[in-house]
Symmetry: C2
Subunit: 336 residues, 2 copies
Amino acid sequence: MAAQHTIGIDLGGTYIKAGILNAGGKLVHRTSITTEAEFGFDHVFARLVDLVDILLRDAKLERSAIAGIGFGTPGPMTRSLGVIHAMPNLPGWENVPLRDKFREATGIPVTLENDANAAAFGEFVAGAGRDVRNMVMLTLGTGVGGGVIINGELQRGAMDNAGEVGHMITVPNGRKCPCGQRGCLERYSSAQAVADRLVEAVGAGEDLALPSSGGSTSAGRGSSLRAAIDDGQDITSTDVVRAATEGDALAAQIWDETAMYLAIACVNLQHLLNPERIVFAGGLINAGDKLLTPVRTHFEQQTWRIAKDQPQLELATLAGDAGLIGAAALARVAGE
Amino acid sequence: MAAQHTIGIDLGGTYIKAGILNAGGKLVHRTSITTEAEFGFDHVFARLVDLVDILLRDAKLERSAIAGIGFGTPGPMTRSLGVIHAMPNLPGWENVPLRDKFREATGIPVTLENDANAAAFGEFVAGAGRDVRNMVMLTLGTGVGGGVIINGELQRGAMDNAGEVGHMITVPNGRKCPCGQRGCLERYSSAQAVADRLVEAVGAGEDLALPSSGGSTSAGRGSSLRAAIDDGQDITSTDVVRAATEGDALAAQIWDETAMYLAIACVNLQHLLNPERIVFAGGLINAGDKLLTPVRTHFEQQTWRIAKDQPQLELATLAGDAGLIGAAALARVAGE
């Protein structure tokens, strides 16, 4: 039998997700195991090698049926060398020649990709971008990651650093970013930033200056989240969205600004790349239409009307499977 | 003899520039004529057909030596149909099937491209980007145009509208743009915007609030350009650069902001596309190092340091020939 299937592995600090795509690009088998990252590189590597055997056994496929294995991994790498330089939350993964080492261990060609790019490519081939040729994805999680696909090809740039949409400067001389820049999109529109901005604004008393919201859960003056913050509880973007929905004026303002900055980023992607579609992924899209509707509204307000080149704005559809599907699809591209 | 040369035609409202590239991509002949746009479409079209004959005669080439003709034209078009929808400053060019009509008239295959893209591709193949594979050009003239080249290919996007770098929103809710948006890069960093911003600031008395510059040409209080503005004279970006150099505080501030916004645009291009080089063209680069040095300084201040993926920032080298060279080079690409 010709090698027509590919395996995708999404390697994270807590879980390893993996799956097999058939020749038609359909996910025919998937599984996940814990990473057990704390036991170091050799341990995780052995688990990865075993995982391939398990996948083959469970999917009832011969090793010769697999044309390639694709990895999606966090952290810096040099793709041309197949080397992982480091991985956040995976101790001991310093300057690992994963591509060659894993090929030797499994007998199957290996390709590496960063996890944000792999997830974007997954949505492109099998999710929210499956019917277009040009797509940008923005993954709104702890940070803002992304991926750019043009004419069906994932864009990596001259030094494998394309698609860092979260570090586009959206507000000149704006909020400080751990990356060293100011005003990065990530500091306004990641899930983390939504929570951070609310906590900071309450700390600065901004909620007290806003008109009373009249929200049913609001107790006394200020934001409905003030008591929880004063109590030392962690605030998440989910809390902010809920408070905004329930009429909290400060939360509503921050949520609206979040949507506006995302919309401005979309305008910039539109004019630079003219993609058919921009797809949002990551934890923040759990808000569903509460995110998509204001982003679309702000986009209509911010973009020009002199040309009909507006991209469609959509939510990702593959959730946690995007990375492994994209990695498997990229393994096929690499083998062509 | 095999058809190995290509012709490039840069069609503007005042001049038509044209040239011939040989098989090695070298410009072996060039010429220019006035457009005489005011006489309408048929007249200009006849001049273009004659121009091809003149080029062939002067370069001593047979018609059969020409593999293709590329046009760089301003205004909206549909490339897939080869139709020009309109051209600023060329009356009568509405919905013209230029590609097919010119092919019929000359017997040579024709390809159309917008002028900003053609100029960017010209710099890429023969100018400031000739030794790289990934380049973005920003043309700083009346507006800000541009072009994006990735892996050696000019990017047009899903609807032929990629590369509109001038309409990336650089300042959220900033200056109004004729395009309908707010805060476009073009409203801060085009040659026109540099002059406009100075005139507006003087009109608002901002120069009077700044500390005295001590510049040698400054007469009395305020900007050294105030008298000329009050006198109804046209102010250009060249005037602003000269005043800034001579110590005019307001002019220096506006020029510095111009460089800062260009630098921010470069950071955003860096993170999205990771090109090796960003090239500046257009009238504003007549300022030379007075432009490039502050843009580079601001870029170093604005960009991250966590990766070594900074593009080189350079000035274009082909001046007025970029468009015709790019158009001729694109005619070759189209024929391959």
